[in-house]
């Protein structure tokens, strides 16, 4: 894992004065990434939490050039911004997209795939809070197995979401993208270093950062960072990179913390039975078998 301390990033703020919920993981990811990328970053954000909390005329909360895209159009607008600025003769800028899990893995996946396929010189950051939070916690393609959302209720017949998360990291990698990474705001220095690394690579870069949503996950606002660490420590998420055709694991927990403890802290998983938790644990172990076999350390 990258050795990065809080003191060494800019004190300058590019995303402040917004109306995100207390403890919002997504806004922390955007704030940290823009500190790395600086004033020459042009951010593109689709309709979603970050645009809803930061872009209400006349209260506009980005101090770098920023623009809202259509929900499906983060990557395609990024492409246009990058091509337009380049065609106008600008150099030394970074076109960066910040889209949520639904905006990335569901409605925006086609445009994202197109941008990676063209190898457009953009950074695409997916802040994953595992449901459509802006519209009130509905299931997305990145909602994990068992999670209760407002469209996957936990009842007697069905215990929340019945499908596992889509694997966006490996979907991006399967395009043979120049750089893809996973991260968590619980391991902020690792995330920051990955953004920095991405900014120095030519072509399309994809970073998938877990960003808990206290409102949607049923945790206290001051638990965001802790839970974002624990999802990694329990092995349910992992910190990895894909570059030059090679997967690399950045952080291997000596032993996993208790999956059940991670789940039971969150309102969205409170209803899970031992059987459900076994499904989740088995799926984690299967994933790690794959990681241990295929990822470099």
């Amino acid at each position: 894992m990258a050795n990065k301390t809080a003191e060494s990033i800019s004190r300058e703020e590019f995303f402040y004065g917004h109306k995100a919920c207390a403890g919002c993981g997504g806004s922390l990811a955007v704030r940290a990434a823009l500190k790395v990328l600086g004033p020459r970053a042009v951010s593109v954000l689709p309709a979603g939490c970050m645009s809803a909390v930061g872009f209400n005329f006349p209260q506009l909360c980005f101090s770098n050039n920023s623009i809202i895209s259509t929900f499906a159009g983060t990557a395609s607008m990024l492409t246009g911004v990058e091509a337009g600025l380049r065609a106008k003769g600008y150099k030394d800028f970074t076109a960066v997209g910040f889209a949520g899990d639904g905006g990335t893995a569901d409605i925006g996946i086609q445009a994202l795939s197109g941008a990676i396929d063209r190898n457009d010189n953009v950074i695409y950051i997916c802040y994953d809070n595992e449901a459509y939070m802006n519209t009130g916690i509905q299931k997305s393609g990145l909602t994990p197995f068992g999670a209760k959302t407002t469209t996957t209720p936990a009842g007697h017949n069905i215990h929340g979401n019945i499908r596992p998360k889509k694997n966006m990291f490996e979907i991006a990698a399967a395009h043979d993208i120049p750089y893809a990474a996973t991260a968590s705001i619980g391991y902020l220095p690792d995330f920051i270093e990955k953004v920095r690394k991405a900014s120095r690579i030519q072509g399309t870069k994809y970073i998938h950062v877990i960003a808990p949503c206290p409102t949607g996950w049923g945790i206290a606002p001051d638990q965001t960072i802790e839970i974002a660490k624990e999802v990694v420590d329990s092995g349910l998420w992992y910190l990895a990179e894909y570059q030059d055709g090679q997967f690399t694991l950045n952080h291997k927990p000596k032993e996993f913390t208790d999956v059940s403890a991670y789940l039971k802290k969150q309102g969205r998983f409170k209803h899970l039975t031992d059987e459900d938790i076994k499904v989740i644990t088995d799926s984690r172990d299967k994933k790690w078998e794959f990681i241990n076999k295929n990822f470099q350390l």
């Binding site: 004033p39 020459r40 042009v42 593109v44 645009s51 809803a52 930061g54 872009f55 209400n56 005329f57 006349p58 506009l60 909360c61 980005f62 101090s63 770098n64 050039n65 920023s66 623009i67 809202i68 895209s69 259509t70 499906a72 159009g73 990557a75 395609s76 607008m77 990024l78 492409t79 246009g80 911004v81 990058e82 091509a83 337009g84 600025l85 380049r86 065609a87 106008k88 600008y90 800028f93 086609q110 445009a111 795939s113 197109g114 396929d117 063209r118």
Partner: protein
């Protein structure tokens, strides 16, 4: 000035080459494909210095063009039919953001049933999206619209995206001899795009924001004023165009023998020529017939139509469109223009050419007979009684 034998699509591509867009993002769809093929060849051979982005859908085509326009770059895209409908969200977005993108639309039928041939139901369904909408009659006009479009769209009072419509196949794929303006003349006519509505590293902006109930309608009012401002800017631009290239256009409408006409047929697009020929023939038989060709559906030529029809006894609208459950949209717009002007003349709607069905000279004679003798309010030409056509 060079002469070339070109299809409507190719002529439009030549006009775009002369307009020097910096970013082209397009997705192929019949019958638009030739225009984007020609543009990609121009980028390849260096005669057009632009970024050509191979987007994966029409939604991305326009979304990308919006991003490029927000960067301050002149942007172009082209589509048709299902593609126009697929990108519809972005039409409203481009207009609301006041991004003066130009798009060519090859007018084509919309599914179902599937059909690749020309009618105007695709673009007419998007009249409310906030775009200027022009309808070309021939390849020369298509080229000239391509060159004039940016000058109109980018005018500071207008700042509105511009859709140039060419009838699918009938115009996009039909060849005629076209005058191609000189590069130097084109550059003199159309300077590079300058705007404050763009990303600026010296003065960073938050663009394409939300606006609540208190301010939203002010933005919408301004958007409306922008499209309305195009009325004068179109006339002014056509005058400048005539000064440089010697071809004069007639603004939002083109009138043919309307001054003393008793019976006027209003239409748009490539069918207008046959309407004029029919009017000539009727005049040989002593019937004072005239034609109004609508060149711009937005801004709508309210005054021009009322003026052209002020001495007419009756009128008809021939359109390749139907708003199901009501009437053709062009008819609705024309009736509104006349009502606002206080004109009380009988008018009839003639729906034809849907899915590329041929409209013959005989059909148009029948239409004039309907206008002269009176008929149903809404008529599907060539369909009688049982609807079996």
């Amino acid at each position: 000035m060079a002469k070339k034998f070109l299809s409507g699509n190719e002529a439009f591509a030549e006009g775009i080459r002369l307009a020097r867009p910096k970013v082209i993002s397009a997705y192929p769809i019949t019958p638009q494909t030739i225009v984007v093929e020609r543009l990609s060849e121009m980028v390849e051979d260096g005669s057009l210095k632009a970024e050509y982005v191979h987007v994966e859908s029409e939604h991305s085509a326009l979304s990308c063009a919006i991003g490029a326009s927000a960067a301050g770059a002149r942007a172009f895209t082209a589509t048709s039919s299902q593609g126009l409908l697929y990108m519809a969200e972005c039409l409203y977005y481009a207009a609301g953001g006041r991004f003066p993108i130009v798009m060519m639309n090859a007018d084509r039928s919309t599914a179902l049933p599937w059909n690749i041939y020309g009618d105007q139901r695709d673009s007419l369904s998007q009249l409310d999206s906030g775009w200027i909408q022009a309808y070309a009659e021939n390849a020369q006009e298509a080229l000239d619209l391509a060159l004039m479009s940016y000058k109109i769209a980018e005018n500071k009072d207008v700042s509105t995206p511009y859709m140039a419509n060419l009838d699918g196949f009938v115009l996009t794929h039909t060849y005629e001899t076209v005058d191609i303006p000189d590069r130097e003349q084109a550059d003199r006519f159309l300077p590079p795009y300058e705007t404050d509505n763009r990303i600026d590293f010296n003065n960073p902006k938050n663009m394409a924001f939300s606006a609540g109930p208190d301010t939203n309608y002010v933005f919408k009012f301004r958007e409306h004023q922008g499209v309305l401002a195009a009325r004068d800017v179109i006339r002014k631009t056509e005058k400048e165009f005539a000064d440089v290239f010697g071809r004069m256009y007639s603004g939002l409408v083109e009138n043919y023998r309307t001054e003393d006409a008793d019976y006027i047929l209003i239409t748009l697009g490539s069918i207008a020529g046959l309407c004029r020929e029919t009017a000539d023939k009727l005049r040989e038989n002593g019937i004072k017939a005239g034609v109004v060709r609508i060149r711009y559906m937005r801004p709508f030529p309210n005054e021009e139509i009322a003026q052209a029809l002020k001495n007419a006894k009756a009128y008809g609208v021939l359109e390749k469109d139907i708003s199901f459950g009501n009437e053709g949209t062009v008819f609705t717009n024309v009736n509104s223009a006349l009502k606002k002007a206080g004109a009380a003349i009988n008018g009839y709607d003639f729906i034809g050419g849907l899915g590329g069905r041929n409209i013959s000279a005989g059909d148009i004679e029948d239409i004039y007979n309907g206008i002269i003798n009176g008929t149903e309010n809404v008529n599907f030409i060539g369909i009688r009684g049982d609807g079996n056509g």
